[in-house]
């Protein structure tokens, strides 16, 4: 039965996170001293405090020591956190989803036994997935075979019962903080693309796993590139990294994460993070509009500003509906088979539409601020920048829409 009622627990947790974000995160996150410098190191204090509130293990099953929250609840809470600070929310969202995916769905009992208590008990324990998924180029391959020629992954060479891994992976999310990595490598040297891959679990302190320098504000030749992601990321290098057969996640030659299906939760949770950024800018604009006086009245009373505020309201409301629907659908496949929900790729729709909406919201919000919208000691320019990163990323640009079109057309590879 269609029902949009939230449980009292959900509302209470949301309130808790809301207050935490407003009272503890925001002040630090938008302090001029943090806003002005180009480099913005992860706010470890806030990360730890949020972890203590249970966000890190939100999706991990209760049996394993987590809260066992569903994807919808996770999205709801991560959104609140992201209103406070986007990187902290991104890092926690990633660990929360990977916690569920790795421990509750993919690990063998032995692997779980090896890692789970440390993960559940250590507020600083984060997780990272280092690999590519089938979706990387998928939109660009609209109506064509997936192009996988430049899927370059580290190799694993069999030595007796062990494997020796070598290679490099660029820009692994959470790498600077992760204590456990799920790393995709090529175990079959004859295969190409996404074939012949396997996933290994590698603890951070395992010999041969090197986490390189965290990606900072600028990089590339003559600083020709600039950081373009949320959370934190670093390249990792595998140098004669020796692992045993028991470190393989699932079976050799199959790559449970490469299909991307298990990672849809991650993209929906990232959409919730985006929503939080949109909200932060929107809240700021509403507050400012009610206070700023021009033309003989508060600017909120100008039709032009009212229209911008209303547009933001609509965009955020529609995005949240979609994120929640996609989140709920991931935990309720039966609602697709009984035709309560359509067979459209809801997670893709959620991430693409939310990214676009939030980007527009941050720009509209900045317009309300006039010149204050571009000053580096003020938060708006940060939100605008966050919105650009959200809108123009690999998985949110125009190409991602083509995945939706393929689904509508019934095209299958």
């Amino acid at each position: 039965m269609f029902d949009l009622t939230l449980t009292p627990e959900q509302i209470e947790m949301r309130d808790t996170l809301h207050d935490f974000a407003q009272q503890e995160m925001k002040a630090a996150a938008i302090h001029p001293d943090r806003l002005q410098p180009f480099e913005k190191p992860v706010m470890s204090d806030l990360l730890a405090k949020a972890a203590q509130l249970g966000i890190r293990t939100l999706s991990l099953s209760e049996a394993s020591g987590g809260s066992g929250s569903d994807t919808l609840t996770t999205c709801m809470l991560i959104e609140e956190l992201a209103v406070g600070e986007v990187d902290v929310a991104t890092i926690l969202g990633t660990t929360a989803v990977l916690g569920h995916t790795l421990f509750d769905r993919l690990m063998s009992e032995a692997q779980k036994a090896k890692y789970v208590s440390a993960f559940a008990g250590d507020d600083d324990y984060h997780l990272a997935f280092a690999g590519v998924t089938r979706e990387t180029h998928l939109g660009w391959n609209y109506y064509e075979d997936a192009y996988e020629d430049d899927v370059s992954v580290p190799t694993a060479e069999k030595k007796g019962n062990d494997w020796v891994l070598n290679g490099r992976i660029e820009a692994v999310s959470n790498a600077p903080l992760a204590k456990l990595f799920a790393v995709q490598v090529r175990t079959d040297p004859q295969s190409k693309g996404l074939e012949g891959l396997s996933t290994f679990l590698i603890a951070r302190d395992h010999p041969g796993l090197i986490v390189e320098k965290t990606i900072g504000a600028f990089g590339g030749e003559q600083n020709s590139m600039t950081r373009w992601h949320h959370g934190t990321a670093a390249p990792i290098t595998l140098k004669n990294c020796q692992l045993s057969a028991s470190d393989v996640l699932g079976v050799v030659g199959q790559c449970p994460l490469a299909s991307g299906a298990l990672l849809q939760r991650l993209s929906v949770v990232n959409a919730a993070v985006a929503l939080g950024v949109g909200r932060a800018s929107y809240d700021a604009a509403v507050d400012y509009a009610k206070m700023r006086r021009q033309g003989g009245r508060n600017i909120m009373e100008h039709q032009a500003i009212g229209t911008k505020i209303a547009d933001c309201t609509i965009k955020l409301e529609l995005s949240r509906n979609m994120v929640w629907k996609a989140a709920w659908s991931l935990d309720h496949p039966e609602a697709i088979s009984d035709r309560s929900l359509s067979t459209l790729p809801l997670a893709v729709i959620a991430r693409v539409s939310t990214a676009q909406a939030v980007h527009e919201v941050t720009l509209l919000a900045a317009e309300c601020f006039g010149a204050m919208g571009v000053m580096r000691d003020m938060p708006l320019q940060k939100y605008v920048n966050d919105g650009f990163i959200i809108a123009h990323s690999d998985d949110t640009d125009g190409a991602a829409k083509l995945l939706i079109a393929e689904s509508v057309a019934g095209f299958e590879r």
């Binding site: 992601h229 003989g296 320019q381 123009h392």
Partner: protein
């Protein structure tokens, strides 16, 4: 009808393009990436450009300047902006006050200020209008709130004016040698009757620079706070007559728009759009995605197409408006083209960013810079008030 440039216009275009290619663009990103509000500024760039005439371009020939016409000014701003939009603005900001001086200043004032301006490669100027609580209200004074608008107080004492108060976001604030300061000589009436425009040179006792603003875009370009504490200025520094309001005093309103300022932002935007379009087209032609040239993807083709299309539309509009200024034609186009450039620069720079995409979770820093520079237009050239007020110029 004739759209071709004359020899002098082409000459300036070539000079500006060369300077942008050889001096501005190579330093653009480096200066942009310096922390702080003041730090990106570089006097050597100003000096180098000044020697080529870019600082004094708009000073009339009879005063020893190049006396370039509006078409030339538009072209030079666009060419310089291709190298760096903020650097282009740092030069053209001076033209605005060259215009004002030649139109509104007395011979004595010209002697005292225009001459040193011409003589010193590091002499730059600015104008102080905006204050913390008056931005839009200066642009379009509200009829229902006569006390709205700037409040820096000016009181006449003998042959002097005493100034008190502060201005914010003032262009060239941290580096200027001379400021045109909008003051309120009568706070009881609206700024059109109670406003007096006064020239305040650097070093005047009681006048100092406060905060230097640290911006997301146009980082090279300086904006600072100006603070006046019993600052005394001779009566001879008043532009026009006291209490005539700043627009009227500045005689800026003879062709149906701020005769230069509006065009300035549009022409600068044109340069940024040209740069973004060139970057995006070049990138699409030389990079691959999913095993095919980017230019073979319709998604990209449509973006490249739109960038060119909008840039050419903007170019047509800028050149026509510049010509209208030279011809002294009444029109609201200066305002319209400025607002228009706001919409176009945002769109074109964003498409360039999209075409470049993301690699290793990093984006092209110059594509990002163009987007950040473009954001400045939002409040400077295209907010609601700036759109609405132009309607009054329509016949």
């Amino acid at each position: 009808m004739d759209f071709s440039l004359n020899e002098e216009q082409r000459h300036w275009q070539q000079e500006a393009r060369k300077f942008a290619d050889e001096v501005l663009r190579p330093q653009s990103l480096e200066r942009d990436q310096l922390e702080g509000g003041f730090e990106p500024w570089d006097w050597e760039i100003i000096e180098a450009g000044s020697k080529l005439g870019f600082r004094t371009l708009a000073v009339p020939k009879e005063w020893g300047g190049p006396g370039a016409d509006f078409v030339t000014q538009a072209i030079v701003m666009a060419e310089l902006a291709k190298g760096d939009s903020a650097m282009s603005k740092a030069f053209s900001q001076n033209w605005k006050w060259s215009h004002l001086m030649s139109k509104s200043c007395t011979e004595d004032q010209k002697e005292r200020f225009l001459k040193p301006f011409l003589a010193n490669h590091r002499y730059v100027m600015g104008r102080g209008i905006t204050e913390p609580n008056s931005g839009s209200d200066n642009r379009m004074p509200p009829e229902n709130d006569p006390k709205a608008g700037y409040r820096v107080r000016s009181v006449k004492e003998g042959n002097e004016w005493v100034l008190n108060g502060s201005k914010c976001f003032i262009a060239n604030g941290s580096v200027g040698s001379l400021f045109f300061v909008d003051t309120r000589s009568n706070p009881e009436v609206n700024i059109k009757q109670g406003g007096t425009l006064i020239m305040v040179p650097k070093g005047t006792p009681g006048f100092r620079i406060g905060k230097v603003f640290n911006k997301r875009g146009w980082r090279f370009y300086q904006n600072a706070e100006l603070i006046f504490e019993d600052c005394r200025v001779p009566d001879a520094n008043v532009v026009g007559k006291p209490g005539t309001g700043s627009v009227k005093a500045g005689k800026g309103d003879t062709t149906g728009g701020d005769i230069f300022g509006d065009l300035e932002l549009a022409a600068n935007a044109l340069g940024v759009c040209d740069e973004a379009t060139t970057m995006g087209t070049q990138y699409a032609r030389t990079h691959q995605r999913a095993g095919r040239s980017l230019m073979d993807h319709q998604l990209i083709q449509l973006k490249v197409h739109e960038m060119h299309m909008l840039t050419e539309a903007l170019r047509s509009f800028v050149l026509r408006t510049a010509w209208q200024h030279d011809a002294g034609e009444h029109s609201a186009n200066a305002g319209f083209v400025m607002n228009y450039s706001t919409d176009i620069i945002q769109r074109v720079t964003q498409m360039n960013l999209q075409i470049h995409g993301v690699e290793g979770r990093m984006a092209n820093a110059r594509a990002d810079k163009l987007v950040r520079d473009a954001m400045v237009w939002t409040h400077l050239a295209g907010d609601t008030v700036q759109r609405v007020k132009i309607l009054k110029r329509l016949k």
